[in-house]
Amino acid sequence: MINILTTHWSDFVHGFGITLLASIIALIISMILGTGFAILEVLPNKFVNLVARIYIEIFRNIPLLVVTMFFYVVVTQFIKMNGLVAGTIGLSLYTSAFIAETVRAGILSVDKGQMEGARANGLTYWQAMRIIILPQAFKIVIPPLGNQFINLVKNSSILAFVAGFDLMYQGNEIASTTFDTIDTYILVGVFYLIITLPLSYYMRYLEHKLA
């Protein structure tokens, strides 16, 4: 195992870097989109609710692999992008649907009186949402949000299917050239843990700090 690690160190590190980068970018995009669509779902406007609902149901109910292949195979015929970009977009949109559902649940669990109090106090809907409702909603949904983040990092292995040169992709390459599949995939698993375990503990820490 040590042998594989040392001889393919740069491949592992490269893959790890790509996985980390794609995860961070997808996390930022999916948080922004997810929060945005969560707000669109709770806005007092039936049409906007419907648009948000359609978006969420589409990306929540189609397999991640299908979404990603759509961007890699179909969309690339019109807009040039490599596997890493296509995969990261697919991952972002897919995850954003789950984050939207999570954040929406958080917003709905904030007492209705908070919005009424803020509106009666003279704040606009958006000011109340930003300053009063969302901070309370996020605090409530930190644990399920942590799950989504961890799923996102693991799901980034989808990049291997679209030549994204991520950790999983490098693992496949190493395994097929060395034939040492067991050791290679154990090492790949350990590299994923290096991202997901600290993330998991950080979310737990946040939960306790803000509780």
Partner: protein
């Protein structure tokens, strides 16, 4: 000129007729108390005054602005109309001082130093100077409600609405809140509209009492007259129920 004027106002929740042909004028600086059995539309009526409930027909003019019109700007209206709720509705994620200072800062753009001075003075007025840095969940109900009153006053509104401000409080907390409300009624020229079941408060402080039942205004009288000599049968019945026990 009346500060608040209802003209033939109708309000429905689906098929339910919540407010029936409301006609009412409330003069500037007066304290008006709304009483009546539960489900009579008192809270609905008071909530239409700052646009938390929309009306379906009629005209409702508040501080010169007809808010029944679609285009009217509720955010401007609400600068002039404060509200105190049954369940306080303090911002759970903000300290007491922040609760009071938030709206003046972002809505009125009040200078930070002045904002703090006003907030501290108001906290002193409601007897909670030592609670500025506490969060709402650390306070008792009575304390929360006094903070909520201070928060409304910080906006220096022309009209202050109270929607059953003592109904969710333990009996021993009610007195402190009523004291603060009496102080405001006595010392300021604010127009106050109060939905309450506190008949003692109504007797002492109200200029006018409005009695409602089943979504309609049954009787409007000066407070003394209403309690000593109610005109309507329905009002007499109600008073005998709430006063004789």
């Amino acid at each position: 000129m009346a500060m608040i004027e209802f003209k033939n106002v109708e309000k429905y929740y689906g098929d339910f007729h919540a407010l029936k042909n409301i006609n009412l004028e409330i003069e500037e600086g007066k304290t008006v108390v709304l009483i009546g059995p539960s489900g009579s539309g008192k809270s609905t009526l008071i909530r239409t005054i700052n646009g938390l409930e929309q009306i379906q027909a009629g005209d409702l003019t508040v501080y010169g602005e007809n808010i029944a019109k679609k285009k009217s700007d509720m955010n401007i209206l609400r600068k002039n109309v404060g509200m105190v709720f049954q369940h306080f509705n303090l911002y759970a994620n903000k300290t007491v001082l922040e609760n009071i200072m938030l709206a003046p800062r972002i809505v009125l753009k009040r200078d930070e130093k002045e904002n703090r001075e006003i907030a501290e003075k108001l906290l002193e007025m409601v007897g909670l100077s030592d609670k500025g840095n506490s969060y709402p969940d650390m306070l008792s109900g009575g304390q929360e409600q006094r903070v909520a009153i201070a928060r409304s006053l910080a906006m220096k509104p022309k009209v202050l609405l109270f929607d059953e401000p003592t109904s969710a409080l333990d009996p021993e907390m009610i007195g402190d809140v009523l004291e603060v409300m009496k102080k405001i009624a006595r010392d300021s020229d604010m127009t106050m509209v109060v939905v309450t079941h506190e008949m003692g408060f109504a007797k002492q402080v109200a200029d006018q009492v409005i009695f409602m039942a089943e979504g309609a205004i049954i009787e409007k009288s000066p407070a003394k007259e209403f309690f000593e000599n109610p005109k309507e049968e329905r009002a007499k019945q109600f008073l005998s129920q709430v006063l004789n026990h």
